[in-house]
Symmetry: C2
Subunit: 296 residues, 2 copies
Amino acid sequence: MTLSIAHLGPPGTYAEQAALLYLNWLTKSTGVEAILCPYPSIAQTLRAVDKGQAKLAVVPVENSIEGSVTMTLDTLWQLDSLQIQLALIMPIAHTLISCAQSLEEVKTVYSHPQALAQCQGWLERLLPNVQLIPTNSTTEALLQLEQDLTVAAISSQRAAQLYNLPILASGINDYPENCTRFWVVSQSHIPEARPSCSGRSSHTSLAFSTPANIPGALAKPLQVLAHIGINLSKIESRPTKRSLGEYLFFLDMEADASEPQVQSALAEISPCTEILKIFGTYNVLPISALNKGVSG
Amino acid sequence: MTLSIAHLGPPGTYAEQAALLYLNWLTKSTGVEAILCPYPSIAQTLRAVDKGQAKLAVVPVENSIEGSVTMTLDTLWQLDSLQIQLALIMPIAHTLISCAQSLEEVKTVYSHPQALAQCQGWLERLLPNVQLIPTNSTTEALLQLEQDLTVAAISSQRAAQLYNLPILASGINDYPENCTRFWVVSQSHIPEARPSCSGRSSHTSLAFSTPANIPGALAKPLQVLAHIGINLSKIESRPTKRSLGEYLFFLDMEADASEPQVQSALAEISPCTEILKIFGTYNVLPISALNKGVSG
């Protein structure tokens, strides 16, 4: 059996890089053959798993500078079949790729809006007069380069190597701690898809809607979790898309949803919500830990 | 004295439309002369007021479908001088603008990523095979039209009229209730900048950071507000940009910060936070209410 792993393409995106590192670990640790399947958007990547066209997907959830990848959260809420198996944290280092000989020659910089935002300070200091143009992915930005020597793109070092393009400047992100968290999701529980840490999972992700305009509608669930000492590692509100002022709340908590104490907390939260969805209970690993595990 | 109002340009953006409706109300109700000053980004729009180059700014905060405009929240947190004077809610109706004779001829659609996302379902149904290309503003998308008859742009009806371009389809947003909330901000309190409702303000916006990794760090402030019956109309987390998992929380609450009960709640919240910033206490109006007020 060949296992297919969906990701945001084309090859050279940070999502493909994360998917590839995960695939390498998976094949080496389980012997299962796997292939990468690029999709043109995050929504289509997740829907491929929902429809059974791919077994797993690796999707970005959050960047340390730019915050949530809202497309991932919104799509996960819409699809009922997906479960998070694992979270991976990958450092992000942006490079400026161009056929120009020097920064002075660059007039236009193309990249994904998140990458442009993550290099905003560097661009204002070193390229204050260039035009910044958004693209659908960091890889798509590279398409602009060969036609025009005054054009540059922000992408990864790996993308520069993959497409054999020259790097004009490295490590151009404003914050050195820049990293992105990815989720590995699948329809059903796949034991081999999870690195064997301890038996316990470290995190649980869930989302809920609350009855509108009730004071404390959010305070009550948070209070229940605080009461049993569960730390929230993230909270995010997203519009319900019905009317302005109605929200869904996405929570990541540091707890294993299979533990009795956590289960009773979730049972206590449930009546305060309209709809409550548990997206999975899983471990969070730096992506480098996968490679260490397989090279040894 | 001529009062300058900064907004995201160029002319034809939804932000310019909101700024213009506000300007018309302001000049008619106070007699003060005012001009619009377009800026290329939301960050530069807000910084213009911070530096005293403009007296007021009208900036988008949140769309009912796509959620927060994170650039507005992040910039407001960075600048210490700005106060919210008023919130305005404007309905958003997208149109497809093109020189093509029919939808079949359209091969490429340009627009701001938020507008593309708000018409995603319509595009998938009626233009399943077109290429979607992001631009920096809905107006910038119009620049692509005249060179190529297979190109379309998503923008407002007003932009089509302003640039004398044909509308191929109207009301193409997926959700009819689509609207955007704008904030009017200034450095100091400008009494004339606020429509005289009752003396009481309906909303207060604030943001705070919390000590990292303490269970209940967010639950405590929310509990204080719930206890005195204050409804939160919005909560949003944004990364501190220091490291993954550290957040700022942006809250909009339905309360007037000058009321003694609210002041004591804020005093109780303050010690649970690292940094607490109050962005202002103000009223929220449908933008049509401004026009009614001045036409009568």
